[in-house]
């Protein structure tokens, strides 16, 4: 290898050893996936936040719970937010239990709350899906990139052992192409970590809003005649 050779980015990737290329390919794939999830979660959470605001406003402004129930249940499921589904589950369960003869008030409220709790869990599970993938990418991909780099540098030094007069020009291209793997690992990891932290915080806030809504809705139902 000569120092005068082309050191462009593409050339570095194309001339890397097979294992380093594999690592780079893996990192590229992982990076694509994580960016995909980042955008998907971004849109989902933004939409969820908007729907939650809208439904909370509608809930507290509605004079009659029955009207609200009819309105919500008439709408399409795919257009509903998590909070609407929690509300619907509680209201449906409450109505069903109310029809049963001889049910006491605490059993009625327990059943309603359980139904809402189950829906809440399911909604949270959906909101949190793929977050663990982002966390894994954030923590693992630098190491994968580092592995590729170490391997590439090992190769570069092994090549150095075969030449009589060792100069920096012999190892520099090898090290440069090996370091591309670390760069790609970091490129995959940094957005994933940032996005993970951001989304975990958003989901945490949504979760506490859902929980407090569940409690408040239980109180409202308990006051029902």
């Amino acid at each position: 290898m000569q120092v005068t050779q082309d050191l462009s980015f593409v050339h570095l990737i194309l001339t890397a050893s097979v294992l380093v290329q594999l690592v780079m390919g893996l990192l590229l794939f992982v990076s694509m996936m994580s960016w995909g999830y980042i955008f998907q979660k971004l849109f989902t959470l933004r939409r969820e936040l908007k729907l939650t605001d809208k439904f909370e406003a509608a809930f507290w402004n509605s004079p009659n719970l029955n009207d609200l129930y009819k309105q919500v249940s008439a709408g399409q499921v795919s257009n509903q937010g998590a909070l609407e589904r929690i509300f619907l589950a509680g209201a449906v369960e409450f109505a069903k239990l109310k029809k049963q003869p001889g049910i006491n008030s605490s059993a009625l409220m327990d059943g309603t709350r359980r139904a809402m709790r189950a829906t809440y869990q399911r909604e949270m599970d959906r909101l949190e899906s793929h977050l663990s993938f982002l966390a894994s990418v954030g923590s693992v991909s630098p190491y994968v990139g580092l592995f590729g780099t170490v391997w590439g540098i090992m190769n570069a030094f092994r090549g150095l052992a075969n030449v009589g007069q060792a100069t920096l020009a012999h190892v520099a291209p090898g090290i440069a192409e090996a370091l591309v793997a670390t760069a790609m690992g970091l490129f995959a990891a940094i957005p994933a970590v940032v996005a993970y932290n951001r989304y975990a915080y958003d989901i945490n806030r949504l979760s506490s809003r859902f929980e407090s809504f569940t409690e408040e809705f239980s109180n409202v139902l308990q006051r029902q005649p």
Partner: protein, 259 residues
């Protein structure tokens, strides 16, 4: 509630955006970064000079009037401000009071350099002393020249470097240079006593040797030994003042086994 299979929304747009991000990133890397694709420039060596050295043959004292003028003019203009200070120190005021007077000296020198060269030295005994001072040579009764002041120095610079003084310094330092080189000569066997080698040595201002050219030689082995010694002896001793370096840039050094 029925557990309907939930399909994540925004899958398509998220995928397209992820592709876009990577495309932009690689485009930036591809077009924005241009790593070293050309061979680096060849290394080159540069000599740094304080001022242009005088050609070795021309004595500095024999400058043409036009060349003297820029030096002499400040000497004429500058005196008025320091004049009160000179009055305050009355000891050497009298000899230094007349700045324009020495100006004719270089012109005279110019006209008849060889004859008058000695004259200013005689008439102004202080100058060689100050010259020694200027070239950083210790010794001599410097205290008498202390009071020279700025005016005197300017004048001395104008009519300054007396050929004899330069010659003396030149001889002294060539002697030093030769002595230093001789210490490093590893004498080869069977060198005849009458062997004689002549080298043209080009020096750099820091005393290191730039080129060595063998001008004349009567014994190849001895010439080789001397050439090695010249390189080994660097940096060669040079006068501390750079103004004289013009005399030392090209040196003709003659070596004999017995001197």
């Amino acid at each position: 509630m029925t557990a309907t299979t939930y399909r994540e929304p925004y899958q398509f747009s998220a995928g397209v955006l992820a592709l876009l991000v990577h495309g932009v990133f690689f485009a930036v890397l591809y077009f924005g970064l241009s790593w070293q694709t050309k061979p680096p420039m060849e290394a080159m060596s540069v000599e740094l000079w304080d001022a242009l050295p005088m050609p070795a043959g021309v004595p500095t004292g024999g400058m043409s009037p036009e060349m003297v003028a820029p030096d002499a003019a400040p000497a004429l203009v500058e005196p008025p401000p320091p004049a009160p200070i000179e009055v305050a120190k009355p000891d050497i005021v009298v000899p230094e009071k007349k700045p324009p007077k020495p100006l004719p000296v270089p012109q005279k020198l110019n006209a008849k350099p060889t004859h008058t060269a000695q004259k200013p030295v005689e008439s102004n005994r202080k100058n060689p002393q100050s010259l020694l001072e200027r070239y950083g040579i210790e010794g001599g009764n410097t205290s008498t020249t202390r009071g020279g002041g700025r005016v005197g120095q300017q004048l001395r610079l104008a009519d300054a470097v007396k050929a004899t003084e330069v010659d003396r310094l030149l001889a002294e330092y060539i002697g030093k240079i030769k002595a230093k080189i001789k210490r490093d000569i590893v004498m080869p066997p069977d060198v005849p006593e009458n062997a004689r080698v002549e080298f043209l040595v080009t020096l750099l201002p820091d005393g290191s040797v730039m080129t060595v050219r063998l001008a004349r030689s009567s014994h190849a082995g001895y010439a080789n030994a001397v050439e090695r010694a010249i390189f080994k002896a660097q940096p060669l001793p040079l006068p501390p003042n750079n103004e004289l370096f013009g005399q030392f840039r090209e040196l003709k050094l003659v070596f004999k086994p017995i001197e």
